[in-house]
């Protein structure tokens, strides 16, 4: 067995309580453990406030971790700080829910894709143009989109650009927070197909957060159901879908909906 790409153990994330004398708040992520083999996709579902985004933010090192450990590619991920962290973060790509909020409307697609490349120290020029055109084509967009502005894109096109940007630095791990929740069913199908292609062609590993169990079940190898900061159920997708152990998982699947 090869070591997992990402290993999270007993992770606790707690936001500061407001006010000087406020009691310590309940943890947003409460002793969560997960293991993601390279090339595999873990789907994370759960109700609003269950801690899904907080877990992702901890993996992205955007919020402090109270206790527990995160191992990424064999390294103690929480021990990396400062400039080393800025560089190490390149190994994770991030895609957010609303492509229009995460892309500056007035920038061209070329400017948006160049940002991470320039930050890494790449020099502008023909090689960078080629790299950006390649990123777009991987995401199903023609190179003439480089000259377009973000505000001129449809929702599906904008989300493709977000994914292209997340892939710019060849991350080994892609972290997606509700990437299709703002999109129509037909556009959602395009994005899910794109993610399945990227997984097959480049062996990309993914953490995919959503509240829609059916969406994530389609491409996840493993599913994890969260509630109140904790994992209430996890396992192989087929197992969780065919024999959910928890009432809550069954409700999420829509079993409770057929009145």
């Amino acid at each position: 067995m090869t070591a997992p790409l990402l290993d999270v153990h007993d992770l606790v994330v707690r936001y500061k309580a407001r006010g000087l004398f406020a009691a310590p708040s309940k943890p947003a992520v409460d002793r969560v453990s997960l293991s993601l083999p390279a090339g595999s996709t873990l789907g994370i579902v759960g109700e609003s406030g269950s801690g899904k985004s907080s877990l992702l933010r901890a993996v992205l090192r955007l919020v402090p971790v109270e206790s527990g450990s995160i191992t990424l590619d064999g390294q103690d991920w929480l021990a990396i700080h400062g400039p080393a962290l800025r560089h190490a973060r390149h190994s994770i790509g991030f895609v957010a829910q609303n492509p229009f909020l995460s892309l500056s409307p007035r920038l061209t697609i070329a400017q948006i894709l160049a940002e991470p490349l320039l930050a890494r120290g790449d020099k502008p020029g023909a090689a960078m143009q080629d790299r950006m055109a390649l990123l777009l084509s991987r995401c199903g967009l023609p190179p003439d989109f480089l000259a377009r502005r973000a505000r001129e894109l449809s929702g599906g096109q904008a989300q493709r650009v977000s994914i292209a940007r997340a892939l710019a630095l060849n991350p080994r791990l892609l972290v997606l927070d509700e990437p299709t929740s703002a999109l129509d069913v037909s556009v959602q199908a395009q994005i899910l197909n794109l993610l399945m292609d990227l997984k097959a062609d480049f062996g990309l590993s993914m953490l995919f957060v959503t509240h829609n169990l059916k969406v994530v079940a389609h491409l996840a190898d493993q599913l994890m159901v969260m509630r109140g900061g904790s994992v209430v159920e996890s396992g192989a997708t087929a197992r969780v879908m065919s024999a959910p152990q928890q009432v809550y998982t069954r409700e999420l699947m829509g079993f409770g909906r057929r009145a």
Binding site: V185, S186, A189, N193, H218, R257
Partner: protein, 317 residues
């Protein structure tokens, strides 16, 4: 008995880029006591259809229809009078529908005062009864609460109680569960269904979610580019769609393909609402399109209580 009868509704909104055909030609027929789904992707005219029924189309908009009747009353003349009396709106965002600085009790009483001649004590009792009817626990205590002290699901129940307080018998629910958690949304849908059964309400359920249609709708109408393309029993629409667009929409759902298999995405985009449509609106994207589809508008086809518009003649029953 038909409660709502709309034929050939159009809503045209002036804009700098030319007139926007928000609704091009929609037929909608809803029987009393029915939950009728209005389905379609973003921008196809669902909300604008609801707004036209409420007399709330944007300023300057042209609303026209061959038939535009609610319970035998001409909506072209009387939509304003019916709104908040017989027709009420339940919107996607309950927090925005409630006044943040007034208590729930005060907001319920404001509605009851304009709709009944009851004295204050009776109105308070009525408010408690209506809140309880929407499944809110401790309804009497709730009167003193402010909207922000309630969860999204509880707020939506208060909005529904307000709609009941107006005495409305026709509810237009515009994506009423989209902003709620899956499980909370399912509870609100169950409540609407129960109210329809108990009080003889009729509901126009605007949604883009086929699970919502499956859970609560008796019948449904599918919109594409401001046109009604198919209407029929919800179960038939979901399991044996007749129009190629409805079929494509269902095939794109993540549970329509086996795990890990490519989904049937629909290529291309919805036509711009500022451009005229030639032939069938779906023809640029339709896998079954023939030459005439691009130039000739499709004929209406009828089989029992199921209607759709397409050049392809359906085959087996």
């Amino acid at each position: 008995m038909t409660l709502l009868d709309i034929q050939g509704l159009s809503v045209t909104i002036p804009s700098p880029a030319g007139p926007v055909q928000a609704v091009r030609r929609i037929d909608l027929n809803i029987a009393k006591g029915e939950i009728h789904g209005l389905i379609g992707e973003s921008g196809c005219g669902k909300t604008m259809t609801g707004m036209a029924l409420l007399g709330l189309a944007p300023a300057g908009a042209q609303v026209a229809a061959r038939v535009f009747q609610f319970d035998g009353i001409d909506l072209a003349k009387s939509a304003d009078a019916l709104r908040g009396r017989r027709i009420a709106l339940i919107s996607q965002d309950p927090a925005a529908a409630l006044n943040p600085v007034l208590t729930i009790g005060r907001q319920m009483d404001d509605v009851l005062r304009t709709h009944t001649l009851q004295p204050k004590a009776d109105r308070t009792a009525a408010a408690v009864a209506l809140l309880a009817a929407t499944g809110l626990p401790d309804a009497a205590k709730l009167l003193k609460r402010y909207p922000h002290q309630l969860s999204g699901g509880m707020q939506q129940r208060v909005v529904i109680a307000q709609a009941l307080a107006t005495g409305a018998d026709f509810l237009i629910a515009d994506e009423p569960t989209t902003a709620l958690d899956v499980t909370v949304g399912a509870q609100v849908l169950a409540l609407l269904r129960q109210l329809v059964a108990d009080r003889g309400l009729t509901v126009l359920m605007i949604t883009h979610d086929m699970d919502v249609v499956a859970a609560v709708c008796d019948r449904a109408t599918v919109l594409y580019a401001g046109l009604s393309v198919e209407t029929g029993p919800a179960s038939a629409i979901l399991t044996r769609p007749r129009h190629p667009y409805t079929a494509a929409l269902l095939a794109a759902l993540p549970d329509a393909a086996p795990h890990g298999q490519r989904l049937a995405a629909i290529d291309g985009q919805v036509p711009a609402s500022t451009k005229p449509i030639s032939g069938c609106a779906f023809s640029p994207r339709c896998p079954a399109a023939m030459t005439l589809c691009h130039t000739v508008p499709p004929p209406a086809r009828v089989r029992g209580d199921h209607r759709w518009a397409c050049h392809v003649a359906e085959d087996a029953p």
